[in-house]
């Protein structure tokens, strides 16, 4: 028999097909990332359409009928057409994309206002409190499990963190709404039961597992040789951990905080339940806030399909998508790759 024929890989159509199917299936997640962007964006795009035409056309119809009443009003024609259109702008407020930069969020009113600033302020307030609370606790706890903890503590910490990350956000939200809010109010004497601080504290519970896990990974990824060198030079355990391991793991810890920030910024149920949902533009932590994500969650069920308000909510979704996407990109490519390079030594 020909030797070449024996060595040649036999073509198996079934397997070829199966392997193609595997590749195709693997592209699904890639496809859906694109689809998510496209379809959320698609519902937000009409925002940038000029709506004054629609309103003008709607108003123009009765006007034309009026015109036929008096044929002698020909010379006043221009004035008649011009006046109502300027009046319309006041009477039937035409919403446009630039409205998003206003300072108030009052979508359900005769003069709807769609300013996103209070929502941004709300999101940042809650996220800031959550990160300020969660980051130190999670990083210190990671340092503890990595360096100081006896073995049984390590075995205890891992499942605890997994359980915490397994808590449904609605359970944390419920806890914050019924228990935490009352406790915090009686402790600090806040005027409002539900406020940014309660939301932030509850949110920190959701963020701690992320920051802990990624920081711990970063600490573990620090080469043993570094800490051994430090210990061999006579440094104590705590000095090694604080001045050698932690600085070496800083990019990873930074990535952890960034990802925690992203999670907190987009989390919906906790803020929907625990922050009081009032779109106020203030920087007082004891006042109720309404975040970007909670706005979508609370208002999407009530809007008219295809309405300006509907498009604005999708635009907020796109904002959340872009923010989480860029944070992810930054954490992944900049911070992690940098960390990798640092340890590979090139």
């Amino acid at each position: 028999m020909d030797k070449k024929l024996l060595l040649k890989k036999k073509f198996r159509p079934g397997e070829w097909f199966a392997e193609r199917m595997v590749s195709l299936t693997a592209y699904i997640s890639l496809t859906f990332i694109a689809l998510i962007f496209i379809f959320v964006f698609r519902e937000a795009v009409p925002l940038f359409k000029d709506r004054s035409h629609e309103v003008a056309a709607f108003k123009a119809a009765p006007l034309e009928e009026m015109e036929t009443y008096g044929s002698e009003m020909v010379e006043g024609d221009a004035g008649v057409l011009e006046n109502p259109s300027t009046e319309d702008k006041h009477a039937l407020h035409v919403s446009k994309a630039s409205d998003l930069l206003a300072k108030d969020w009052q979508p359900i009113s005769d003069q709807p206002k769609y300013g996103l600033w209070p929502l941004f302020a709300g999101s940042f307030k809650v996220t800031l409190i959550a990160i300020l609370l969660a980051a130190p606790i999670a990083i210190l706890a990671a340092l503890y499990t990595h360096t100081f903890a006896p073995k049984w503590c390590k075995e205890l910490m891992k499942p605890t963190i997994e359980i915490l990350s397994g808590f449904p956000s609605v359970v944390i939200g419920f806890f914050a709404l019924t228990v935490l809010a009352t406790a915090i109010q009686s402790l600090f004497g806040f005027e409002y039961r539900l406020n940014a601080f309660v939301g932030g504290v509850a949110m920190s519970l959701a963020v701690i597992p992320i920051i802990f896990t990624i920081s711990e990974d970063a600490l573990t990824a620090v080469p043993k040789s570094l800490s051994e060198a430090s210990l061999a030079l006579g440094a104590k355990k705590w000095e090694t951990s604080l001045f050698v391991i932690l600085p070496a793991a800083i990019p990873g810890v930074f990535a952890a905080v960034l990802l925690g920030f992203g999670r907190a910024f987009g989390e919906t149920m906790i803020v929907l339940m625990a922050t009081g949902n009032a779109a106020l533009m203030s920087f007082d932590f004891s006042e109720p806030v309404r975040t970007l994500s909670a706005t979508i969650g609370a208002e999407m069920a009530e809007v008219v399909f295809g309405d300006f308000h509907y498009n604005v909510l999708f635009a907020i979704g796109i904002l959340l998508f872009i923010i989480s996407f860029s944070l992810n990109l930054f954490a992944e490519f900049f911070v992690r790759q940098k960390l990798m390079k640092k340890f590979r030594g090139n």
Binding site: E15, E19, S23, T25, A26, Y27, I28, S29, L30, F32, I33, I36, F39, V40, E43, P136, L140, A141, L143, Y144, F148, M157, T160, E162, I163, G166, F167, P168, S169, V170, V171, I172, G173, F174, L177, L205, F212, E239, S241, L242, G262, R263, G266, T268, M269, M273, I296, G297, M300, A301, L313, G317, L320, F321, S324, F325, L327, N328, L329, E332
Partner: protein, 304 residues
């Protein structure tokens, strides 16, 4: 005042203490939350509560429809999501060579998918599944009527499947990586093809990982509320979901509705706590079995 050595000792001890306090405050927080919810919900929890429908304008009765709704949601979600996740993980582990330029992109896509806020998935479900796919189906097959172009359990499950896809992929990948190289090499050396090696050697050896992934996905899917807020969950339904295009009640959504939108929040405290407790027990059990399975898996990985 203090000698240098003593100062150092104080710093060292206080750092160790600070880290310890941080770690145990996390443990304490978990225990306190679980304790309070157990304490609040235990009194109202009974077989009757689990197997009865809400009565009296949602102020009495049980949560049976919500449990069934959650169950159906996670079943449809797993049927769609677990195979896709498993196959993607196989691709990422077995089909990737250094020449492959798309694999890193897919990996990045999976990471991104894991980081997208849940509410954006909800918007996507509304924009893509309901407005695009659903309305498209309606106008194709039964123009003029609305059957698929509205929130229902199928669209909610598909949205949730997409959300939990990264969870499945990550666990299956971890499992596939613990299958020793020698097993693969032996299989290939005996003349098995790549495909035979994958289906007869790699996959049977990573069944634990697939199971872990499925359990974690179910736990995540049962707990997330944001994606189903406007893709299919309903406040109250007199009957159980009977088709793919019917709406459904869900445990997490029930907790949210009862504690924020209910007409009498104080009176239904018992129901709220008990529903939360059921949800917590469900996710806790699922997570714990996943942790246990993964522990077994890691033991195997260490043995090699």
């Amino acid at each position: 005042m203090f000698s240098f050595a003593l100062k150092k000792k104080i710093y060292g001890n206080s750092l160790a203490w600070a880290t310890g306090v941080a770690a145990f405050s996390v443990v304490a927080a978990v225990l306190i939350i679980m304790g309070i919810i157990f304490y609040g919900g235990w009194g109202s929890l009974s077989w009757d509560f689990i197997f009865a429908s809400p009565k009296g304008g949602m102020t009495e009765g049980g949560i049976f429809p919500a449990i069934i709704g959650t169950f159906l949601l996670v079943v449809i979600m797993s049927v769609v999501g677990v195979p896709i996740g498993t196959v993607t993980a196989i691709y990422l582990c077995e089909f990737v060579s250094s020449k492959n330029k798309i694999a890193p992109l897919i990996r990045f896509a999976v990471n991104t998918l894991a980081g997208i806020p849940a509410i954006v998935f909800g918007l996507f479900g509304l924009g893509f599944f309901i407005q695009f796919a659903g309305s498209g189906l309606d106008s194709l097959f039964n123009p003029g009527t609305i059957k698929w172009g509205q929130p229902n359990i199928l669209w909610a499950s598909l949205t949730m499947a997409l959300l939990t896809l990264p969870v499945v992929i990550v666990s299956v990948e971890e499992a596939i990586k613990t299958v020793p190289r020698e097993l693969r090499d032996a299989s290939l050396a005996l003349g098995a093809t790549k495909w035979e090696t994958i289906t007869k050697v790699v996959l049977p050896n990573s069944i634990t990982g697939i199971l872990t992934g499925a359990i974690l996905a179910v736990s995540r899917g049962a707990g997330e509320v944001a994606p189903i807020l406007f893709t299919g969950a309903a406040y109250f339904l007199p009957e159980l979901p009977h088709a793919l295009h019917s709406q459904f009640m869900e445990l997490g959504y029930h907790v949210y509705i009862m504690s924020t939108q209910s007409t009498n929040v104080e009176e239904t405290k018992g129901i709220q706590y008990a529903t939360t407790l059921v949800l917590l027990i469900l996710t806790f059990t699922l997570n714990f079995s996943a942790i246990w399975l993964r522990y077994q898996l890691r033991k195997r990985a260490v043995r090699q």
